[in-house]
């Protein structure tokens, strides 16, 4: 009879943050996991449909599997930091493929909404595997499944894109689960033996053969349990199959968690746990929503997102309406002219401020002040200024210049420049502030050297200072250009897209159709916006963050 003395168990080897992960914490966690595993089996959790628990349990399982297989990959490819997120994403994609559109069984309207939004709804059901299939039967079944899948793809000519993503996800997910199935018994066995060593059998010497033996046993249990679950007919009676399924699953669950615990310290468990919410937010809120947007842009969803597939008709309509082509035309002008103007003006102002002038603080505040206003306020104020009946035109006429004309805002071709003027007025201060920070970052020695060499000031700016400010310039450009790309509120406040449709911009089009009766059309437009920004941003991200890092 041995007593449990956790303190006497040697701490795990490894870097300091791993050693901090004390034995009581580890084993406490293991006990909790075991309890959870038991509860899973006892209440039949992952297998019965009990509302919200089911997806949660699946997700938890997916995360655990991801940690189990985390280590060999980390060793192979230690620098790929996002690998975990990738694994989880792929595993979830695989899960979604496997369960085929019936993962959630909520009742009530919110459930209906959620189920309708689920991008995998509408995939065909899987063919049940015959009990007497045998090995070749199994292969045939896999073929059938794939075939049905491909048939479905062909049937819905469009969904090829969506399905392509799912197929790739599915294949990768399948590979991942194969790797998991092979590596899992090893890690699980290792974990279990160490738990044993720490608790029941303190003097246990863990040998390689012992680990391999347990791993083989685990693998067998896995096959038996899964066999029972899928009805392979190994078992004489249903009761026996049921028992094998249940206890085999319990076994698997327990060792899964054991493996997770054992491997945890090596994968910096704390930070992983802490980043789970972030991973879920990234996956569901950003990646998931983007995916959902693309999927539903191929439907005729009106006021309510229902997956009623109509192919690329929304895109066809989008590219044939004048409002959208005007909007695209406007945004190009807006980005080119607006960004360039606020850049040049902002830089000149920054240079001016950099001349060690008096009252610099005052000027800086004045220039930066418009930026403190919201776009809505800016838009309304400039709407009054531009308005021929209240604004500039009327004032100057009252001063005596009676045939003065300034009605750009009601001119189809010129109204967009009014929007640009207002936006530049607002945005220049920020550019100035950022540029000024960049200019101040240039070492005085550079200036002294230039002066000694007799280089004129303007040449120093253009040939020395500006190249030195490259990082600031790029950051500023991205901030200003992306702000210009999604311009919305200033247009709404200033012209509301008028006169007619002449100052429409893409985000306004998206909003208008998304929220008043044509979700499909709004989503098609936002997909195009997403594509455009991806085309612009991805090369920049690559150059700035990937290529430059390699050079350094």
């Amino acid at each position: 009879m041995t007593t449990l003395d956790l303190a006497s168990v040697p701490a795990r080897e490894g870097p300091p943050h791993i050693q901090q992960f004390t034995n009581p914490v580890r084993y406490g966690f293991a006990a909790l996991m075991a309890l959870l595993a038991f509860a899973c089996i006892y209440f039949d959790w992952p297998f019965a449909k009990i509302g919200t628990f089911q997806p949660m349990m699946y997700a938890a399982g997916v995360v655990v599997i991801a940690y189990v297989i985390d280590i060999p990959f980390k060793k192979l490819w230690p620098k790929l930091a996002l690998f975990d997120v990738y694994i989880v994403a792929v595993a979830i994609a695989w899960w979604a493929w496997y369960t085929k559109g019936s993962p959630i069984d909520f009742s009530g309207p919110s459930g209906a909404l959620f189920t309708n939004m689920w991008p995998f709804a509408g995939l065909p059901d899987s063919v049940p595997l015959p009990a007497d299939a045998g090995f070749f039967g199994l292969i045939h079944w896999v073929y059938l499944e794939l075939f049905q899948y491909i048939g479905w793809v062909i049937q819905n000519a469009f969904q090829t894109l969506l399905a392509g993503i799912i197929i790739v996800g599915g294949i990768l997910g399948f590979l991942v689960s194969v790797v998991a199935a092979v590596t899992f018994p090893w890690f699980a066995a290792n974990g279990a033996l160490h738990i044993l060593q720490a608790t029941a059998v303190p003097g246990l010497k863990i040998s390689r053969n012992m680990t391999i033996g347990l791993a083989v046993a685990l693998g067998l249990a896995l096959v038996l349990a899964w066999g029972a679950g899928t009805g392979w007919g190994f078992y004489a009676t249903d009761a026996a199959a049921d028992a094998a399924w249940k206890w085999g699953s319990l076994f698997i669950y327990f060792f899964t968690f054991a493996a997770a615990v054992w491997n945890a310290p090596y994968s910096n468990f704390h930070s992983k746990i802490a980043s789970i919410p972030m991973m879920f937010i990234v996956l569901f809120a950003f990646v998931g929503s983007a995916f959902w947007t693309v999927a539903y842009s191929t439907t005729d969803a009106k006021i309510y997102p229902v997956f009623n597939f109509i192919g690329l008709k929304q895109y066809y309509r989008l590219f044939t309406v004048d409002v959208w082509s005007t909007a695209v035309h406007n945004i190009v002008i807006f980005i080119l002219l607006g960004t360039a103007s606020s850049f040049i003006l902002g830089f000149l102002l920054a240079v001016f401020m950099d001349q060690k002038i008096r009252l610099e603080g005052l000027f800086r505040t004045i220039y930066l002040y418009p930026f403190a206003l919201s776009f809505i306020v800016t838009g309304h104020v400039w709407a009054w200024i531009f308005s021929p009946t209240y604004g500039l035109e009327k004032s100057i006429r009252q001063f005596g210049w009676s045939n003065f004309n300034f009605a750009w805002i009601s001119d189809n071709d010129l109204a967009i420049y009014c929007v640009i003027i207002a936006a530049v007025w607002q945005g220049t201060g920020l550019v100035m502030a950022l540029m000024l920070a960049g200019l101040r970052g240039v070492d005085d020695e550079v200036w002294k050297a230039a002066r000694v060499d007799g280089i004129p000031k303007w040449r120093t700016y253009i040939q020395i200072v500006i190249p030195m400010m490259r990082p600031v310039l790029i950051t500023t450009f991205v901030i200003v250009a992306s702000g210009n790309f999604r311009v919305y509120d200033i247009v709404v406040a200033l012209t509301d897209g008028g006169p007619g449709i002449s100052t429409s911009v893409p985000s306004q089009y998206v909003y208008k159709y998304l929220f008043s009766g044509s979700i499909g059309q709004g989503l098609a437009a936002s997909t195009v916006m997403l594509l455009i920004s991806a085309i612009i941003l991805i090369p920049w991200v690559y150059v700035e963050f990937v290529k430059n890092k390699q050079v350094r």
Partner: protein
């Protein structure tokens, strides 16, 4: 003894408080009635609901239906429903009803015999989906009105116009005198003007054939070609500089005599009412632009999003029946400038404009009362038509033939209505 009495009194008082607390349920009502006449009208509803023992919490959304509708719908979809909300009759809420997010009003409707007392039938019919009643129609609005300021014409020594054609003919003289011939607001009022011209020029038959029966031959035919020619006339009457941002600003230009007239719905009547102007003396109202006296059955309805709180459900059902009570209907519609939903009310206080409308409604000539656009075409297609029309109106380079071709395309692509 004394103590016992005291206790009984205490209990009684307590029960009174309890009853009071149970009865006064807050019911948040969203609507987009924010102009002078509209706000005065909606106050009548609030008064009636408060008098019935509940508490009206006003949720006015400034702007127009185009602004408010998305907010209302996304609040209901997002699981944060209001107690009641204004919408237009039609198919805006169909998908919400199908998703089970709306309160069923069938029992109230049956009990109070809405089917028998509310007219015309089209209004209740557009509240009825799958044989159940989901909304309560509160008023009838028609869009086909030409409003003119008599004083403007009289000052110039002109006879105030009796129809659209005279109105167009007088335009140059007003322009010469420095007065805007026609006031117009940006955005949806442009679409409304063009739709009014469709009805007035192509006739009710033509309009219904295109919008309801999707007759592409009529949409692309000579009658609609005339419509778009008339739009070109209208375009020449409005300087883009003078277009206002809101419809009530355009009406205000007519009220103050800065513009000769405006084509807009009967809700403009409320603004004239607030300005204390008298129809026939200070201003004229010409249904069907004076060409053909017609009335479409637009209007407003109230929907009650489903609530988990039984108290709110109870208050909703009570409010639904309050809104169609005769005295409430009269008080509301007099202020609003719209027509009441029931014929069995005393409207001796109604002004001449309302009486003109009631005359058409109660003694309709063939086809004079016809469905509203949202009852015939989905909101998405209407939005597209609206975009096209605002573009046409502000782009002199665009010809009537161009716009007609695009109009036919939209009608062709419109999904069928149940």
């Amino acid at each position: 003894m004394g103590l016992k009495k005291f206790a009984a009194g205490l209990a009684f008082t307590a029960s009174l408080f309890a009853m009071g607390a149970a009865k006064a349920t807050d019911i948040e009502v969203t609507h987009w009635w924010t102009s002078g006449g509209e706000a005065a009208a909606v106050a009548e509803f609030a008064k009636a609901v408060n008098a019935s023992g509940d508490h009206w919490v006003d949720g006015a959304i400034a702007g127009s239906g185009d602004v408010a509708r998305p907010i209302i719908i996304s609040r209901i979809l997002g699981g944060n429903p209001m107690g009641a909300t204004q919408l237009n009759p039609g198919h805006d809420a169909d998908e919400l009803i199908k998703a089970g997010l709306m309160q069923d009003l069938t029992d109230v409707a049956k009990k109070e015999n809405w089917d028998g007392i509310l007219r015309p039938k089209t209004q209740l019919a557009s509240c009825t989906v799958d044989g159940k009643v989901w909304c309560v129609p509160v008023n009838l609005h028609s869009a086909q009105w030409l409003w003119t300021n008599r004083h403007v014409y009289e000052k110039l020594g002109l006879q105030p116009p009796k129809d659209w054609n005279e109105f167009v003919a007088d335009a140059p003289k007003l322009k010469a005198a420095g007065i805007q011939p026609m006031a117009l607001a940006q955005g949806w009022p442009v679409g409304l003007l063009i739709q009014d011209l469709m009805v007035a020029v192509a006739g009710v038959d033509g309009f219904v054939k295109v919008y309801k029966d999707r007759d592409l031959g009529v949409a692309g035919g000579p009658d609609f070609a005339k419509v778009f020619k008339a739009v070109e006339d209208a375009r020449s009457m409005v300087d883009p500089k003078d277009m206002t941002k809101q419809w009530n600003e355009a009406v205000a230009l007519v009220i103050t005599g800065k513009a000769g007239g405006v084509v807009h719905g009967d809700w403009s009547g409320g603004e004239f009412q607030v300005a204390k102007m008298v129809p026939g003396k200070d201003y004229d109202c010409l249904p069907g632009l004076g060409l053909t006296p017609v009335l479409n059955t637009g209007g407003d309805v109230f929907y009650f999003p489903k609530s988990k709180d039984p108290k709110i459900t109870e208050a909703q059902l009570k409010m639904a029946s309050t809104l169609v009570k005769p005295d409430v209907q009269v008080a509301f519609n007099l202020k609003k400038g719209s027509l009441p939903m029931r014929g069995d009310v005393d409207l001796s206080a109604a002004n001449d404009c309302m009486k003109k409308g009631l005359e058409i409604l109660d003694h309709p000539k063939s086809n004079a009362v016809f469905p509203n656009d949202v009852q015939m075409l989905d909101r998405d297609s209407l939005n597209q038509i609206n975009d096209l029309m605002t573009q046409f109106f502000s782009t002199p380079a665009m010809t009537a033939a161009d716009v007609q071709k695009k109009f036919v395309d939209i009608i062709k692509a419109a999904p069928p209505m149940k």
